[in-house]
Amino acid sequence: MLLAGETLNMATPVSVLRLPKGPDPNSRGFDPKSPRFIALCRTSIPTSAASEADPEQLQQEQHARSVLRESFLRCLLSMNSKKVQFHMHEKVKLEATFGASDIDVLNFQVSDLHTPIGVQKEALIRCQDVISFTFDV
């Protein structure tokens, strides 16, 4: 029996609110031509100036680049269908099941995203909003 002043704490699953349809989804930072995208999302890191001058160094740089990238891609592959915890800005932590990343590592596709306002079945997470994420192997 509840006494006056006591509250009952229950975790109630909440379906995610459907907010009114916003502006064109492409212009919320996903559109490659939007100023926000261009400012925040450099799609790739170019070769260094020193390497442009020296072909041998360029070859070494490209070799290093491909070794590093292959290793990273294997890491992404191993995350498929695993539970991942994302650490966002403002100490927000989100748990989700990892699906895939796009080629420039700008967006992650996830399922069962646990947000503070409910569980979203499918979602895209903007990598610019993520500080780090973690998972177990």
Partner: protein
């Protein structure tokens, strides 16, 4: 947000941090430690591994854009380097013998042909419609293609074969 020079270092510098234990400061207040497995050259993100008991490990990926500081703590010994390098190799090893694989490949090929899908044998893989590769053990997860529509169609076809009562196992 102040960005430090980490994303600008480049592959030749990043690769020098691999197989070292590093401490990474990120965001405003996050600090991570772990063995550096790799740095993604596209996003400058660091992949840190922390070994746990019984061959398990936890992995932290710190996004390149959020990195404030990276410090090397120590070098990995041989054993740790070996563990790091083998932690993400394809986990699924094909447990079937060559004869069984050959039978399965033939079965999948017949099924695709029956569904009027052009398919050719290419070594131990199947080449489908010239745009999709199917490797052992020829399940829906083993399809590889850059054409999303064909990938989806063929995966569904193979899924229906795998689920049928006639599929040899």
């Amino acid at each position: 947000m102040m960005q430090c020079g980490w994303p600008l270092l480049g592959p030749l510098q990043w690769i020098r941090y691999v197989n070292r234990q590093v401490m990474v400061k990120a965001g405003n207040d996050e600090e991570h430690r772990g063995w550096l497995l790799t740095v993604d050259p596209v996003s400058a993100s660091l992949v840190l591994v922390t070994f746990r008991e019984e061959g398990r490990a936890s992995v932290q990926v710190v996004m390149g854009h959020a990195v404030e500081e990276v410090q090397v703590l120590q070098e990995a010994d041989e054993e740790t380097t070996r563990r790091l390098q083998t932690s993400f190799l394809p986990a699924r090893t094909c447990g079937l013998d060559p004869e069984e694989l050959r039978r399965r490949r033939a079965g999948v090929q017949r099924w695709l042909e029956k569904n009027r899908v052009p398919v050719e044998e290419e070594g131990d893989q199947l080449r489908v419609a010239g745009v999709l590769t199917l490797a052992a053990p020829y399940g829906p997860e083993d399809c590889c293609s850059s054409n999303q529509i064909i990938l989806d169609r063929i995966q569904k076809l193979i899924q229906s074969l795998v689920q049928s009562p006639y599929y040899p196992d």
